[in-house]
């Protein structure tokens, strides 16, 4: 199946923004630490998508791909580290509630 590709910047941009808002909302509206991690992932999806779209629209596909490969590697390391911190919270407070991340003020 060959798919005809759109060339409009705004189409890509629209879906990038939708994914971005979705990820942010997911991160900010939850009280569960793991769900924040999922939101973070959605954010990264949106950015990855935008990079590829930018490469596609500007004819720099190879460069964009090279970047995305590196971004994915960074992404997975960040996810693992965040997961480690979440496990630390769980170990310490026996809870995944975000309240434990709001103790320091002022």
């Amino acid at each position: 199946m060959t798919i005809e590709m759109p060339q409009s910047f705004w189409l890509y941009f629209t879906f990038f923004v939708l994914l971005l808002v979705d990820g942010l909302w997911c991160m900010l509206a939850t009280r569960n630490l793991v769900r924040i991690l999922i939101g973070l992932e959605i954010l990264m999806k949106s950015v990855t998508f935008f990079l590829i779209a930018a490469g596609y629209l500007s004819g720099r596909m190879a460069l964009a791909q090279a970047l995305v490969v590196t971004v994915i590697v960074i992404e997975v390391v960040v996810v693992v580290v965040v997961a480690g911190i979440i496990l630390g919270f769980h170990r310490k407070h026996d809870s995944l509630d975000v309240g434990n991340t709001k103790r320091m003020k002022g």
Binding site: L24, M27, L28, T101, K102, K105, G106
Partner: protein, 619 residues
């Protein structure tokens, strides 16, 4: 005379200060004081040796016009001599008075640094270099007040904030001046006083006045008087800061800018001078503490100098500079006498003092000479410099003259009160046997009192050797080229004498009227002319003294409120609003990371929108 010697005047005290800090103070508690006195003696020798020379040199330094440039001119040699003399006398004195204080080491180190920085500020011929030394003095000021005894930290911070604010003005002024003149070399700058030039002048002026302690930048001096060590008061607010502040004011008025009587800046300066004279002296009049009274006079006397320089006439400028010199002499003598009294009698509260004249005759004598000098009694030095300032002020407007003369009246009145309460009358504190102060404390006082006489009787010496060369060619043609000798305007002398007599009469009457606890044996009580005033008062119809007391009292209280209001602006309003801002901001940081993320996103959106707006507008 090589550049090396100029550098030594800065480096020797600085090195001695470092050495003092490194000395093992436990083994030799006297060592810091001795070392300080020795270094200051060396400084004095250098200053005397360097006096007749003219040296200038510059090392290229930072690349944008800031050079390490020192210059010894007539004027700076004169001020340098003053700095060296006073620091030598004060260190000799503090060798005794501070010898046992635990803070002696730090105090002397800071004194030495102060001397080094002052010398640097006076010799600097580049505005940036000058600024560096000047700002360094801010640091030593803070440290010296903090070296005192009771709760001095608040005072230190207050002094720091006030002097800091004025130094900020100075910093702006330096930048603006450099910008306008296109050079930072002080001896190359000569700007007209109009437009931005006037702004630059006013900014620099604020800096100079902050150092000299003129109104409204005076607020810290009386507070420091209570808290800080007395040698400090004698050295910094008493002499060095006046020397430096007035030096800089004179430099900007005479050299850096063209101050003419026609310029609108001249009345501004005179107005500030006159206001400072009158307001501070009225404050002084109601003080009940020896040191605090002196501190307000330290402010008031600056007014005469600013008034004199502000006239922009040779006679006034010479008078102002001569007054600066005289004031430094008698004011440090007075502070030192206060120190002697505090050390021997254990207090400086005038209500608890009295009759010290018998037990401390030499201190009393020195005090009398210095007090007569500050009150402008002939033939002491203060008389001559004040007459010159009067002469200049009268030429510019009778109102300035009248205020200055009124200031003299109150000065005399307050020193009559001070001397009477402290040295005459009955000893109120009989339990304590008071002895004369030790010799090392007396000697500086005696030297200074002697100078009061010498500079008065032989006033051609300081005027022709020190002060008048500063004006250079401007002196020619005026008054036959010199202002030395007895004043020629006998009308003014007569008015001065009249005012002094009035002060004496007023004092005598006041003592008689209110004099409880103060002996009637004092000669002042039997002054002629008293009885008629007394009769008038006894009729009850008219009570001039009470009226005077009421008027002065109300005025003083009002001024005190004003004084506190200024104080409040510094330490209250500014600090409180800063704390409130801090509190609000801290409340906003509630620990919720979501909030921080939203801030960041809002910031990013704002930045992008700003960019779009600019790009859109650019098209």
């Amino acid at each position: 005379m090589t550049p090396l010697l100029l550098i030594l005047t800065i480096a020797v005290p600085a090195a001695a200060g470092l050495l003092v800090l490194l000395l093992p103070s436990r083994r030799a508690p006297w060592a810091p004081a001795v070392l300080a006195a020795l270094a200051c003696a060396f400084e004095l020798a250098l200053a005397i040796y360097a006096f007749p020379h003219d040296v200038a040199f510059a090392w290229s330094w930072m690349g944008f016009g800031a050079e390490f440039a020192l210059k010894l001119s007539r004027f700076s040699a004169f001020i340098l001599l003053g700095i060296a003399t006073f620091s030598f006398l004060v260190t000799a004195y503090s060798a005794v008075s501070m010898a046992k204080a635990s803070s002696s080491r730090r105090f002397h180190a800071w004194v030495l640094f102060t001397v080094a920085l002052s010398a640097g500020a006076v010799l600097a011929d580049n505005l940036i270099l000058f600024l560096v030394f000047w700002e360094g003095l801010l640091l030593t000021l803070f440290a010296m007040i903090a070296a005192g005894k009771t709760r001095p930290f608040a005072t230190a911070v207050k002094a720091f904030v006030i002097v800091g604010v004025t130094d900020l003005a100075l910093m702006f002024g330096v930048m603006l001046t450099g910008h306008l003149a296109g050079t930072l070399s002080m001896s190359a700058i000569r700007l007209p006083l109009d437009g931005l030039g006037a702004v630059a002048f006013l900014l620099l002026m604020v800096g100079a006045m902050g150092k000299a302690g003129a109104m409204p930048f005076h607020s810290w001096i009386p507070d420091a008087a209570i808290d800080a060590p007395l040698p400090f008061m004698a050295l910094l607010p008493g002499s060095l800061e006046k020397l430096l502040g007035i030096y800089f004011l004179a430099r900007i008025s005479l050299d850096l800018f063209v101050l003419t009587p026609e310029s609108w800046v001249s009345p501004v300066l005179m107005g500030i001078g006159a206001a400072t004279i009158l307001l501070a002296v009225l404050m002084a009049l109601v003080q009940k503490d020896y040191k605090k009274l002196l501190a307000y006079h330290a402010i008031s006397q600056v007014g005469y100098m600013i008034l004199g320089i502000g006239t922009a006439l040779p006679v006034g400028i010479v008078g102002g500079l001569f007054h600066m010199l005289n004031n430094a002499i008698y004011k440090s003598s007075l502070f030192l006498s206060a120190g002697a009294v505090e050390k021997e009698a254990g207090t400086t509260d005038l209500r608890e003092l009295g009759g010290l004249g018998r037990s401390m005759p030499i201190t009393t004598l020195c005090f009398l000479i210095a007090a007569a000098s500050i009150s402008g009694v002939p033939p002491f030095n203060g008389f001559f410099s004040k007459e010159l300032v009067y002469d200049g002020a009268l030429e510019r407007g009778w109102i300035f003259y009248a205020i200055a003369l009124g200031g003299s009246f109150f000065t005399a009145a307050s020193f009559l009160k001070l001397g009477h309460a402290a040295f005459f009358g009955k000893p109120t504190n009989a339990k304590r046997t008071v002895k004369e102060a030790p010799w090392p404390m007396l000697l500086p006082m005696i030297v200074l009192a002697g100078l009061c006489i010498v500079f008065g009787v032989a006033n051609s010496l300081p005027l022709e050797r020190l002060v008048q060369p500063v004006l250079g060619t401007a002196m020619e043609g005026a008054h036959g080229g010199t202002f030395a000798g007895f004043p020629t305007n006998m009308l003014l002398v007569g008015l001065t004498a009249g005012v002094l007599a009035l002060a004496v009469a007023n004092h005598a009457f006041g003592v008689h009227r209110t004099g409880k606890g103060i002996g009637a044996v004092d000669h002042i009580h039997h002054a002629p002319g008293l009885s008629s005033v007394y009769t008038l008062q006894a009729t009850g119809v008219l009570d001039p003294y009470r009226m005077l007391v009421v008027v002065v009292g109300v005025a003083s209280k009002g001024l005190y409120a004003l004084d506190r209001a200024i104080d409040w602006v510094y330490s209250g309003l500014a600090a409180q609003s800063a704390l409130a801002a801090s509190w609000v901001l801290r409340r906003a940081h509630n620990g919720n990371v979501n909030r921080y993320v939203l801030w960041a996103l809002a910031g990013a959106i704002a930045v992008v929108l700003a960019v779009l707006a600019v790009m859109g507008g650019g098209r």
